[in-house]
């Protein structure tokens, strides 16, 4: 059974079958050939894998971000970021970093950032005279902040796959690492700007101008606070908070900024629906795959194997980090997450890790996997949108990825980076 499961899966991936279908097909083939289970379990697992109310935060967060963009709030955010840091040396690069951090509070996905603001930042940097590959690399790496600063789609899915952590806890755990990523990337940008003699400052805005752009960006800047306040105060569940975020985005777009026309609402819902289908099909198909992994007792045997190599929790953490990083390099984040979480879960209990710290290390690791070649979905988006060769962006991204790995190492080595904030708000179990 395991031969068919893994054989079909890896061959499918290799020849370019969509990741979701590779998982579904290998699961179906394994079930049908093995014959121990009725064929009907396949659609049943596909159905049950996404029959979850907490999971609905995902389409709502997608929707909220799409509505915010349709209302023109992305532009207001960008202007605010430019007014705030555009006048520093290497200005647009810093604007790129800050914008990704601000946009991360609206959107929960790195791909949304890369395809939206990331693409715009890249073209702005190129027009200003930055090297196209570097502009692309910076837009790609800053996009990985999206799933680290709340809200975050992969954190929602992590919390659903692992009952040891909560969405609220993970969201809070991501705040400090997300800011650290921003600082690290800004530092590299500063260094690159000095090394290559980039100046590219925009004019320093007047205080009044800054206040004005802040005011225009306010509706978007408020969104993460509304979400977090609602969840932390126990007013909403994360799914409800996401729905409230959608309602908020609708009200802001229709009545406050008035950038959203009534006629544009259905198209935005359709677009968000298509994006939801792409994401949740992976979650659905992965559920049959990860069920078979448990049937085959892969998680337990892996935990035992790692346990036989070393007894030191620190060593295990490092081994896990390497394993996750390698997976993140070759598989897409979401499928990697859904496959790895049940596989790695037993290690948390066996070695007594803090589940939240462990989860944060895995999420951050996989987020970095979005920009590591050979399979870096965000790099693909950037190289397609910017028409830059994949190899060139990947090469230019190296120092930036290295900076992100330093942050990852810090998050792994110092649990307090991720755990302090959730602990302060009482979200530790």
């Amino acid at each position: 059974m395991s031969a068919i499961l893994f054989g079909v899966f890896f061959v499918g991936l290799f020849v370019g079958l969509p990741v979701s279908i590779s998982m579904g097909l290998s699961g179906m083939a394994a079930v049908l050939v093995d014959g121990r289970f009725m064929g009907m379990v396949v659609p049943q697992y596909l159905f049950n894998g996404i029959s979850s109310f907490p999971l609905m935060a995902v389409p709502f967060f997608i929707l909220a971000a799409e509505l915010m963009s349709a209302s023109g709030l992305t532009n207001s955010l960008m202007k605010f970021a430019n007014d705030l840091v555009g006048h520093i040396r290497g200005g647009l690069g810093h604007v790129n970093v800050l914008m990704s951090m601000l946009f991360a509070g609206v959107s929960g996905s790195a791909l949304a950032d890369a395809a939206g603001p990331g693409a715009i930042e890249m073209s702005m940097m190129r027009k200003a005279g930055y090297d196209p590959a570097y502009a692309g690399a910076l837009s790609a790496t800053t996009a990985t902040i999206g799933p680290i600063i709340p809200p975050s789609i992969i954190m929602v899915i992590y919390a659903i796959s692992d009952s040891r952590v909560t969405v609220a806890g993970l969201f809070l755990a991501g705040v400090v690492p997300g800011v650290l990523l921003g600082v690290a990337l800004s530092a590299v940008n500063h260094w690159v700007s000095i090394k290559r003699g980039y100046l590219f400052r925009s004019k320093r805005p007047t205080l009044l101008g800054l206040a004005k752009s802040f005011w225009h960006a306010m509706p978007a800047l408020m969104l993460p606070f509304i979400i977090m306040f609602g969840i932390l105060a126990g007013i909403f569940t994360p799914t409800e908070a996401a729905a409230v975020a959608v309602a908020y985005a609708l009200v802001v777009g229709l009545f406050i900024t008035r950038g959203l026309k009534w006629g544009a609402i259905l198209p935005v819902f359709i677009r968000a629906g298509n994006m939801t289908a792409g994401v949740l099909l992976i979650v659905s198909m992965a559920s049959i795959f990860s069920w078979l992994l448990t049937i085959l007792q892969i998680p337990q045997s892996l935990a035992n194997q790692i346990g036989s190599i070393t007894k030191s929790p620190a060593m295990v953490m490092i081994l896990v980090a390497i394993l996750v990083f390698l997976c993140g390099m070759v598989i897409d984040t979401l499928p990697a997450l859904i496959i790895l979480v049940p596989v790695l879960g037993p290690l948390v209990d066996k070695f007594g890790f803090d589940p939240l710290h462990f989860a944060m290390a895995v999420v951050l690791n996989l987020a970095i996997g979005l920009v590591t070649p050979p399979v870096g979905p965000v790099l693909f988006v950037i190289s397609t949108v910017g028409r830059i060769r994949f190899e060139d962006v990947a090469k230019a991204a190296m120092p930036l990825i290295l900076a992100e790995m330093v942050v990852l190492a810090a998050v792994i080595a110092f649990p307090s980076i991720s755990v302090s904030l959730p602990r302060f708000f009482g979200f530790m179990r």
Binding site: G16, I50, P59, K79, N82, E240, I270, L281
Partner: protein, 173 residues
């Protein structure tokens, strides 16, 4: 004729997805308002909206295919000469059609099986929400068959990305 059907099919599918998303949002949001406004919440809202999400996923999967939204690793096939790549993609297309055809058949059996069971909150036959999978699988096959040549050529439908016009560029010194 086929082209006309294709356009109608896509439009109908899109509107279906949009309306289901809208309904899903309205149900959840009204439930939140209801809980704080009149102190009541409606358990069925949670269940129906969850089913709607599953329907959006499976009935929207074909549209997502047309827009190239199903992530795949194309590294290997991109190294092939164009003719061979087309053949490989055509074969993959056939594999995908077969997969969804089998899934549709298994899904129909599951729905028939589920017809005699009831869901928890609304007590409708479980077979009704289950239908999302066979219906979605059939629609996915139709979308793929109608755009099979685009699939083999790896030509996706236009995804409109709105540009930004904020005039930052002029301000760069």
């Amino acid at each position: 004729m086929l082209e006309k059907f294709d356009r109608f099919f896509v439009r109908a599918n899109q509107i279906l997805i949009g309306v289901m998303m809208l309904l899903m949002f309205v149900l959840v949001f009204i439930n939140v308002l209801g809980r704080y406004g009149i102190g009541k919440s409606w358990a069925a809202a949670e269940e129906i909206s969850t089913f709607l999400m599953i329907w959006v996923t499976y009935l929207g999967a074909g549209l997502a295919l047309r827009e190239g939204r199903h992530a795949a690793i194309d590294m290997f096939q991109d190294k092939l000469p164009v003719g061979l790549r087309r053949t490989v993609r055509a074969l993959l297309g056939v594999v995908i059609l077969a997969f969804f055809a089998v899934l549709a058949w298994l899904g129909v059996r599951m729905s028939i099986f589920g017809w005699s069971q009831e869901t928890i909150a609304t007590q409708m036959p479980t077979g009704i929400p289950y239908l999302a999978i066979p219906l979605g699988a059939i629609m996915f096959c139709m979308h793929l068959a109608l755009t099979f040549k685009d699939w083999t050529d790896k030509r996706w439908e236009e995804i409109v990305v709105e540009g930004a016009d904020i005039g930052i560029e002029e301000k760069i010194a």
